[in-house]
């Protein structure tokens, strides 16, 4: 019986709470699916069979003791390998952390455990979340369940592929420039980037501190909202965490599911419509979805955000600059890989040899770019200038949200491409995040929801909302989902 793995997290939570199935049964079915398909998908870097079964049994015991369970208690979840899990290996997709077992849980992992979710394991990703295809994982790529010759997006390709392969109903991603939304789009799943500071970064291995945002991945908008509610909220261990209540995302998703968007005003970003590089099939699917939104009652207007065209180069100065500093701690002294410690090499030589051997090409590329951009004499021209453009992009958003409730665009310019198609030319890879990067620079929430197929492959629609108005994007995304439906990948 493989019916349980096709169910949504919301359904599973209800069945478990009602005693119609057990957390153990649900967990076993997902572990079975992992052993059946992950050899071909490679969504997971580490599967914690024993830990998952123990967590599931604990939930069942709580229920047996008469405890009232939360909506996601007993529901399995996969966690991106960039988030620390106490006692479970955490590598961030890098050789430099091979074998490292964190002594502490990230805040969001603590919250997942408190909510009774069952952590199945850690998912594959581009090394240190730098990439858009998961091909930069030091442990080999993940394959898109829709077509195993294609990429699942990145950096969180593992988290999204696990959903599309029915290995997990929920997963955790992190989004610095689109690493939740773009994999969501190309795997036909839902991925939400919350407001920056709305979810704690404590325990998230930093790539670019001012951009990194953990968030929920799921196969439905409601499931994403349920997970969002579990992990969001103020965390005193993260100074940039916002001390404000979480907006009512679950209620908004349920409201959207009714299919009514009357009175909602949505803006089409003009600069994205004219941008080069979007595939015709993606544009067509997007416009069909816009039609659907209009039929649901939404008013659509075109909005100009003139500075969005500078988002990509701005991002590729800020993110590498911060990463060049964030990744300095990986030096072989305290944890992870150590190379060349033979009693002859100096400390500096050991550090240098370790980093040479431990980091992959994309990570080295960005560290070098960032080191250069921050260096004395270049700071003003690069990092300083990028911060100024970031402010302009933020102003574009603020001006737009005076006219509309949310902005919409395709999530990514192209459907899942063939493995190896873009690794030779980094800048062609960077284009994958053309539409997702602006909201990272601004800090507002954004979600990708499936909006149709192009040549048999999923296309995603992105909804971008004002900071702290995460509920708005859930309402619009859920409404679209209610007319288009979820996408069903081919059987593996």
């Amino acid at each position: 019986m493989s019916s349980l793995i096709k169910k949504t997290a919301a359904e599973l939570g209800e069945l478990i709470a009602a005693g119609q199935t057990s957390a153990l049964e649900v967990t076993r079915e997902h572990l079975d699916q992992i052993s059946k398909v992950d050899g071909r998908v490679h969504a997971f870097l580490h599967v914690d069979v024993e830990g998952a079964l123990a967590a599931a049994k604990a939930v069942d015991a709580r229920r047996a003791a008469g405890e009232k369970l939360g909506p996601l208690a007993g529901v399995p979840i996969a966690v991106k390998d960039v988030v620390t899990t106490k006692g479970l290996p955490t590598t961030a997709g890098s050789k430099i952390l091979e074998g490292w077992v964190p002594p502490y849980d990230a805040t969001l992992v603590e919250r997942l455990k408190d909510a009774g979710t069952v952590i199945l394991g850690k998912t594959n990703m581009d090394e240190f979340a730098m990439g858009s295809s998961t091909e930069y994982s030091a442990y080999g790529p993940t394959f898109n369940p829709w077509d195993l010759t294609r990429i699942p997006g990145g950096s969180g390709g593992g988290s999204s592929a696990a959903l599309a392969a029915y290995e997990a109903p929920l997963s955790i991603g992190t989004d610095t420039g689109g690493s939740i939304r773009q994999p969501g789009a190309v795997t036909g799943t839902v991925g939400a980037k919350p407001t920056y500071g709305g979810t704690s970064r404590y325990g998230l291995i930093a790539f670019s501190s001012s951009l990194d945002t953990p968030g929920p991945c799921a196969r439905t908008v409601l499931d994403a909202a349920l997970l969002h509610e579990v992990i969001a909220g103020h965390d005193p261990r993260d100074s940039t965490s916002i001390p404000a209540p979480v907006s009512p995302v679950v209620a908004a998703a349920r409201q959207g599911m009714s299919g009514d968007l009357t009175g909602v005003k949505l803006g089409l970003v003009k600069e994205f419509m004219s941008a080069e590089g979007a595939e015709p099939g993606v544009v067509a699917a997007f416009h069909a979805a816009v039609e659907s939104l209009t039929k649901l009652g939404a008013e659509i207007v075109e909005i100009s955000c003139p500075n969005f065209v500078y988002a990509l180069p701005t991002y590729y100065l800020i993110a590498p600059s911060e990463c060049s500093s964030n990744l300095a701690r990986f030096d072989g002294v305290r944890y992870g890989l150590r190379v060349g410690d033979n009693g002859v090499n100096s400390l500096e030589e050991v550090m240098s040899l370790t980093r040479e051997a431990g980091f992959g090409p994309e990570v080295k590329r960005r560290i070098m770019v960032g080191t250069y951009a921050l260096s004395s004499g270049y700071y003003d021209a690069y990092y300083g200038q990028a911060q100024k453009v970031r402010t302009l992009i933020t102003r574009d958003f603020q001006a737009a949200f005076e006219k509309v409730d949310a902005l919409i665009s395709p999530t990514t310019p192209f459907v899942a491409f063939q493995l190896g198609a873009r690794t030779a030319d980094p800048s062609s890879m960077y284009l994958a995040d053309l539409y997702t990067i602006p909201s990272n620079l601004y800090g507002g929430p954004a979600i990708s929801v499936p909006c149709g197929l192009s040549e048999g492959l999923p296309v995603g629609l992105q909804v971008m909302a004002p900071t702290l108005a995460d509920d708005r994007m859930y309402r619009v995304a859920a409404a679209l989902e209610s007319t288009i439906g979820t996408l069903t990948p081919p059987e593996l």
């Binding site: 930093a206 940039t240 009693g343």
Partner: protein
Amino acid sequence: MTYADIVERYEPVIGLETHVELGTRTKMFCSCPTEFGAEPNTQVCPVCLALPGALPVVNAVAIESTIKIGLALNCSIAEWCRFARKNYFYPDMPKNFQISQYDEPLCFDGYLDVEVDGRTVRIEIERVHMEEDTGKTMHIGGSTGRIQGATESLVDYNRAGIPLIEIVTKPVTGTGAMAPEVAKAYVAELRDVLRGLGVSDVRMEQGSLRCDVNTSLNKPGEEWGTRTETKNVNSLRSVERAVRSEIIRQSGILDDGGKITQETRHFHEDTGQTTSGRSKETATDYRYFPEPDLVPVTPAREWVEEIRAGLPEMPRVRRLRLREAWGLSEHDMQSVLNAGAVDLIEATIVAGASSEGARKWWMGELARRSNETGQELDALGITPQWVAELVSLTDAGKLNDKLARQVVEAGLNGEGTPGEIMAARKLEVVSDTGALLEAIDAAIAANPDVAEKIRGGNQGAAGVLIGAVMKTTGGQADAKTVRGLILEKLK
């Protein structure tokens, strides 16, 4: 070439950078304890070990302490400022960057007045900013404990993340020959201010107050010369010696037509000389940028004013006030300060003693003992209350000077309060006139010629009889009383 000749021909410009470890209970960005001397790597956590994923959170007490320091140094307090990352690789720095402040210090544009030889010198403060300390590296296997020849390096991260405050002066000019004394006086004054604020234990020997001294020389009327930065200056005396030795060294080079290299130099306590460290020209580019893991620091004005209102009296103001109140000369006040007796004398007065009485004992018998044993005055086991009791007993005539000294001796041996010692040792001025008259009669009988002189009007001769009486009574008589009785008898 004598020092006097050198400072005739060259004008020194000095600058001081002082690092102060704050005495907060927890570290700057995590809640690990800060106690000194714990087992290596027992006061660490994911944050101060820079484990992947860990994030810093600012210690609010450290911010408050820094604002206190800024206000005490007459600084402006920023309404909005940020931390910055100072990037460089070093094994005892867990993140391979230090969280510091760069172009937005929390406190800026202040001053501190110091006294040197009765002259007031205003030292302008450029900035006071916050940062974190590094761990400590030990090299094993080499002959000298240095990195050369070492086969293993051990790092203790207990100190990593302890709050550090850096206080930077503007260049100090126009002090001429006094430059070394000014440097020393500044550090001493700063130490007293910090101690008074209660923000640090300011122990130079333990490294909780560390000082780097910048020195340059220029000919009068010419531009400032190239400066050197002297590190490893670990005592007040060394501050003075380091500046003096740098002035002498640089003048030698300049006199020979040479050029000063901009560099870091190390001061050596034993030789009193500085030697070259790493050259500043090859210094790392620190790639400062605003720390994205921390939100800006925005101290509310009301809070700053609250802190200002709660500041204690500044040491210099207090010194002037006490000198006045105690009626001391500048020189005597300086002796009191040098002996570290100000607080003790003040507390003794508060406990009821006269200022003369308090000063007499603390600066007399007790200071002598402190000198002999090398113990601090406040470590002798004698409290201000103890001295106040002693003073009140002598003032009441129950102890004379000689007996009081015996009581002090006993007190230093831990025999109890003055009252207890007097009771135990039966030390009290004999005021029973019957017993005294008996002793006086005996003294007169034994010295008829002296008695005759006194009868003849030579009162000065009474000393001999007084001495004899004191001897008979074992010193327990009050000399004044004895004298009165003798003169009465031989009228």
